[in-house]
C-alpha cells in the first residue's frame, strides 16, 4: 500500500521533509509506519518513549487522531494520509 505522510511544525525540521510517500506491505499499522519513517535515533526519540508513542504527539489518520482509533495498532489502508506534529501550545 502507498501512504502519504505529512509533517508539520518542528517535525519538518526533525524529519527534514514537509511530506513523503511511504510504501508498506500487508496489514500495516501506524506503528509500522512510524518504525519506517524514524530512520535516526533523533527522529525515533521524538516519536517513541520506551517503545510506546510519546504523549501529546498528534497523529491524524485521514483527519482523525489515532488515539480515537486504535492508537499505534491503528490499521492503515492504501491511500491514507497521515499527519504528524507536536502540539503547538503557545498563545
Amino acid at each position: 500500500m502507498k501512504l502519504k505522510v505529512r509533517f508539520f511544525a518542528t517535525f519538518r525540521e526533525i524529519f527534514r521533509a514537509r511530506e513523503t510517500d511511504v510504501a508498506l506491505t500487508g496489514d500495516a499499522t501506524v506503528r509500522d509506519l512510524l518504525e519506517r519513517i524514524c530512520a535516526t535515533p533523533a527522529q525515533r526519540g521524538q516519536v517513541f518513549e520506551g517503545g510506546e508513542l510519546k504523549p501529546y504527539i498528534i497523529i491524524l489518520k485521514n483527519g482523525r487522531h489515532i488515539q480515537h482509533l486504535d492508537g499505534l495498532a491503528t490499521r492503515l489502508e492504501d491511500g491514507d494520509v497521515v499527519s504528524i506534529f507536536p502540539p503547538l501550545a503557545g498563545g
Partner: protein, 245 residues
Amino acid sequence: MISPEECDRYERQMRLFGREGQERLKAAKVLVAGAGGLGSAACVYLAAAGIGTLRIVDEGAVERSNLNRQFLYGDEDIGRAKVEAAAARLERLNPDVRIEGLRRTIAEDTVLDLVGDCGLIVDAMDNFAGRHVLNDAAWAKGIPFIHGAVEGFYGQVTTFVPGRTACLRCLVPVAPPRRAFPVIGPLCGIVGSIEAAETVKYFTGASRLLENMLLMLDGVDCVIEEVPLRPAPDCRVCGRERTRR
C-alpha cells in the same frame, strides 16, 4: 442601529456585508480568552471591526518579556493588569465598542460564568488545559470556539462549531503540560488575525468558515497548508453532542 459616524468608520467592510452585517457585529458579544500574543491581534481587529462587546479574560499582569509580541501594551504598562491596560488601549481605538476586562482565571468552576451570554469564544490561551475547559464550555453553550495556537515559527488555527465539526478534544485528546514557549510576534499576529476574521465571518455570514479544516502555518517556509479534520465518534464532548442530535 448604525449611526452615520459608524457608517463612515466601517464603510470599507460594509461593502462586504452591508449595514445588516455591521448591525450583527454591533449586536455581538465575544469572549477573548487570553490577552497575550494571540489576544493582542484578535482584540485589536475585533474592536476595530465594531464588535459590540468584547469580554477579555486574563489573569496576568504585563511583563517586559511579553512586549516582543503583545502589542496591546507598552513599557509604561509593565506591572499593570493586562485586562486593564488592554481595555484602555481598545477604548481609545474604538470608543463605540464596550470592553469588559475580567482579571480572572479560566477554570472548570469559573468558565460557564465567564462565558456568560457571549456568542462566540476566541481561544487566545497559552495552554491546553485552559483550552479544553473553553472547548467544553463552547459545546455546553452551543457556541463556536475559534482555536489558535503558536510556537516558534509555526501556528495553527481552526473553527470548531458545535453540531457541525470536530472539537478540540478530537484534535488534542490530552493536554500537554504548561511550559514557556519560544515565539516570534508576527506568527501571533497572523494567527490572532485569522481568528478575528473567522469571528467577523461567523457573525456576518460573509464567507465560509474553517470548519473541520485545520490551517497549519509554517513561518520558516512561508506556507499555509490545510489539514482536514474529522470528528471522533467516541469523543466525550462532541461525540455525545452528535448522539444527542
